[in-house]
């Protein structure tokens, strides 16, 4: 493997890691805080990706594609935020503690979402125009790195830092971190943890939808099953990273993204995905609480 190939695989793998992180971080916080396995999380991702497709393809009145992409990020994120809020308030809230019903409801939402998007936009892959600059490559130590990979990586890093700052510097973040560790004790301190549930769902929805925006650019198109397909890897990331740990999710995203890229290149397409599943199995055997998760007492 030449250095140029190594650098390209590295940056591409990190870009993919960024997409994984964005969908998995909300999933991890939702499970860590509320014990909810949100199978509808992929829907937020799909919503973000289709918002991007629509803004980039149809919102010609705005003008330049660069501005349209900025609007897609904001619109996709806003759509995910609203969807997360609605899903928690309308569908999930009544069934906290009832895991079977939660799974049935969120799975139903996920499948219904795919059918709705497919019925509306057809199941054909949709492509869309991108700003000219996105087609460029940047020379890094002799390697030609596509701008889209750097964009995905850069925006994901910005959102990682923003999420960590929110969790570490704000009172809402403090309540969420405490709630992930011991929800009952937060309530016993007189804090309405229910508000944090809604907030985490909304933030998780927003991050996943922005992941969908970047995923649409990264994979150069969208399909109705887009979110559902990537959700499987997001769950793997969440388990490897440790439930409720944002830092663990970031670390696991990098591990999974890079493993897929390098193994697929070295051993053949598809082997990378198998290796990721093996990583999951190894983690469950050796460190069931995940890389940075807390052991259950």
């Amino acid at each position: 493997m030449t250095f140029q190939t190594f650098a390209l695989l590295l940056v591409t793998g990190l870009g993919l890691s960024g997409v994984y992180f964005l969908i998995a971080s909300g999933l991890s916080l939702i499970f860590g805080l509320m014990d909810v396995l949100n199978l509808a999380h992929g829907l937020f991702f799909t919503a973000g990706s289709y918002a991007t497709w629509w803004v980039m393809s149809s919102l010609e009145v705005v003008g330049p594609l660069g501005l349209r992409f900025a609007i897609a990020v904001v619109a996709g994120g806003g759509l995910g935020l609203a969807m997360g809020y609605v899903v928690e308030r309308v569908f999930v809230r009544r069934f906290y503690g009832d895991h079977v019903t939660q799974i049935l409801i969120t799975l139903g939402l996920s499948l219904a979402g795919v059918a709705l998007v497919g019925g509306w936009f057809t199941y054909d892959p949709r492509t869309f125009p991108l700003p000219e600059a996105f087609g460029n490559v940047v020379m890094v130590a002799g390697a030609r790195i596509p701008v889209t990979r750097l964009l995905t990586l850069g925006l994901s890093l910005v959102l990682l830092v923003a999420l960590l700052a929110f969790l570490r510097r704000t009172r809402h973040g403090l309540v969420i971190r405490a709630g992930v560790e011991n929800r009952s004790m937060v309530q016993a301190m007189g804090i309405d943890v229910q508000k944090s549930f809604t907030l985490v769902f909304a933030i998780g929805g927003m991050l996943a939808a922005i992941g969908g925006v970047l995923g649409a650019v990264f994979f150069a198109g969208v399909t109705p099953e887009f979110g559902l397909n990537i959700l499987i890897f997001a769950f793997i990331v969440v388990v490897i990273g440790g439930l409720g740990s944002v830092e663990g999710t970031a670390l696991a995203s990098v591990l999974v993204g890079l493993t897929q890229q390098f193994v697929n290149y070295l051993a053949g397409a598809g082997i990378g995905d198998l290796t990721v599943v093996a990583l999951l199995a190894g983690t469950l055997l050796i460190r069931p609480q995940g890389l940075l998760g807390e052991a259950v007492r």
């Binding site: 009172r171 403090l174 309540v175 971190r177 405490a178 560790e181 011991n182 009952s184 004790m185 937060v186 309530q187 016993a188 301190m189 007189g190 804090i191 309405d192 943890v193 807390e294």
Partner: protein
């Protein structure tokens, strides 16, 4: 089971309505907490069988009894952390239908068994989480005076503190709340004897002029802290009255410590 009634200390600090106990009207201030017919089931088990008791203000009441009689369950039910039936009134107002955080906002505060500090948060963050009352800022200075170790270790993760330090943090964060009734569950559990002495001294200082319902297995600790006592047996109030009366009655004390022996010594 018959409810045995001790002589109330200082005028019905603790009363058991089932026994018709209590000072006459006008002699005692109204109770902070009134519990009537409290039942709790956990799975198939019926843990509390209709508890009735009152807690008088500005006194420390020990909730005693052998392991498994429902002491911790009582505190959790009072907080709404376990489903229960019956009536719970705080300063005369029913809190039975309120969620846990609303009960705490009404004036209950809780120091749990095993401390349950947030181990991944720093000491300062644990305290900051509790800083949600107008009085909290002033109370923080008092907490730091009581437990200077907490100020020195403010940047340390709570999970890395010793058991005694964690207990001080658990108590400190609760003291930031201007609570009407402190529920303290086994504050000396699992601590070394020398640390128990420290914790008891801190508790004596911290709970002066407060109303406290204290669950404690260690009778010496209960004696040092409590003025009144309620003894549970088989999920019911078996005795209530002044702590001194309980300790003065050897048979009663032995009965309480002897896993509910009947007069003939046969275990129940």
């Amino acid at each position: 089971m018959n409810v045995r009634q001790g002589r109330p200390a200082g005028g019905a600090a603790v009363s058991s309505p089932a026994a018709g106990n209590g000072a006459g009207p006008g002699e005692a201030p109204p109770p902070i907490l009134e519990v009537d017919g409290l039942h709790v089931h956990r799975g198939e088990a019926h843990i509390l069988h209709g508890l009735d008791f009152h807690i008088a203000p500005n006194r420390v009441t020990a909730l005693l009894g052998r392991n498994g009689v429902g002491k911790t369950t009582t505190l959790l039910a009072l907080l709404g952390l376990l489903p229960s039936s019956g009536e719970i009134r705080l300063e005369g107002e029913s809190v039975t239908s309120l969620s846990t955080h609303r009960r705490v906002q009404r004036g209950l505060a809780y120091v749990p068994e095993d401390r349950e500090v947030f181990s991944q948060l720093t000491v300062a963050e644990n305290l900051r989480l509790a800083m949600q009352w107008p009085e909290s800022a002033d109370r923080l200075a008092t907490v730091h005076e009581l437990f200077p170790e907490l100020e020195r270790r403010s940047a340390q993760k709570a999970g890395s503190l010793s058991g005694g330090q964690q207990q001080m943090l658990a108590l400190g964060r609760t003291l930031l709340h201007p609570a009407k009734l402190l529920l303290i569950d086994e504050p000396t559990k699992g601590l070394a004897p020398i640390v128990i002495t420290e914790v008891v001294a801190a508790l004596q200082q911290a709970t002066a002029d407060s109303t406290v319902l204290l669950v404690e297995q260690n009778l010496r600790v209960a004696e040092a802290l409590a003025t009144d006592a309620i003894v549970l047996d088989e999920g019911r109030v078996a005795w209530s009255g002044a702590m001194a009366d309980l300790l003065a009655d050897e048979e009663l004390t032995r009965s309480m410590l002897g896993v509910g022996r009947r007069a003939g010594g046969q275990e129940t």
